[in-house]
Symmetry: C2
Subunit: 235 residues, 2 copies
Amino acid sequence: MSTPCASIAVSTVIFTVRPTGPGGRHELWLPLVRRIREPYHHMWALPGGPLDGDQTLEDAATAYLRLTAGLDASHLEQLATFGGLTRSQGADERVVTVVYWAALPAQDAAAGEEDLNVTWLRATDLPPLAFDHSLVVAHALERLRDRIADPTVARSFLPAAFTIAQLREVHEAILGRSVDAPNFRRHVLRSGRLQDTGERVPGTPHRPPALYRFTADGAPDFFRSGPNPLHQETP
Amino acid sequence: MSTPCASIAVSTVIFTVRPTGPGGRHELWLPLVRRIREPYHHMWALPGGPLDGDQTLEDAATAYLRLTAGLDASHLEQLATFGGLTRSQGADERVVTVVYWAALPAQDAAAGEEDLNVTWLRATDLPPLAFDHSLVVAHALERLRDRIADPTVARSFLPAAFTIAQLREVHEAILGRSVDAPNFRRHVLRSGRLQDTGERVPGTPHRPPALYRFTADGAPDFFRSGPNPLHQETP
DNA sequence: CGCCCTTAGTGTCATTCTGACTTTTAGCCG
DNA sequence: CGGCTAAAAGTCAGAATGACACTAAGGGCG
């Protein structure tokens, strides 16, 4: 039951949302670290490294995340495992990498320092990355788009109290397109996952928006709650 | 970049659909293999084993699948990777297991021999399994339910030509509930993924059903094709 | 032959959901 | 006070959904 020794690595795709687009549009950003040795020396790569013998996979992902962003994610989820034979060309042994993806609220991510070996870039406009990490990021983006229907994912990009506009901006950043504001409001309010705090954002040059927070429980999904797609009951 | 030597294993949850329920209802079945050594000696476990140094992960999954079912799956997809520290209690070293799930058409699965160390059981009514495999199967069932909206998944349980009733029975088995036949027909036909072969199943004691096959391409999903949930465009 | 049974396949209809809008409200700014 | 902006509420046509009723086409059987 023992295999030829293969090393196991853990990497994390860390997402955050920032209002950096034209007209304040929100965009997805992620941190990368510079390779300081061969292979792929000097190129950007996903934060990660070897799995210690006494760590769970999730522990390792959390540790590399903290090392890179300086803080913990509010959402961490396994993405997939990559184990192609040729993916780490130049390394002398086989590497299997378990990849996680994580969400960071914008205000926390701002605290993460940037240094010479860590950079934050737009997720949709990355240079070629080390190993197969460009492919990994593409997978992570696709997964994130699928998972955004889950309110717990959207909430992990936001502070505890937020406006519906902020929530919509998170969706827009992840889906890469704008979303009709009135319809979005109708939908998320009808989902029953939002609770009005009674407070409003003061000091705006226009009507002050209400602050909401997520309820502890409720429908599993913002979209497509209620009864399922087709597939209705027939006793 | 080297880690303490950990062994990597690959396991596969192999699903097939059989008309074994009351009144010919279709149910999900999967094969298990008997452990022939400690730990968990004599218990049932998912087919799998160590990853060879020169195999891709998918190669290994395919190999264990063939060893167990005697043939290749028509659909193979990665599920998740399990690496808890305590999951293989009694083993002397850390094991990280990459799990795949696969679909087998019923007529092919019938060909797979059953012997003393391989058994097929109902997926929804399993005895306690070795390691954390009960949990793994639960994850696989959940994933399968999510993925069945993809026509390529449904097709992998069926022969090339099939009736809409057979297609519906696959959905019913996976969703664990019955589905309204007229509405199901309307939906899958409207999806544009089905092509009438012009042939019919002869010899039925009732109106002969038409045989369909899947078109090469078309809408990505049976359900929820067309424009997306909410999230419509707003230029 | 002709009735009956069974499942295939079609049609209908009320309700809900979606997407694209318009209108009103509530604050600052000058 | 009028104008500006974004929040919030309202409107409406068309599509999708779910629950049915109904017709069609076979074989089985008397």
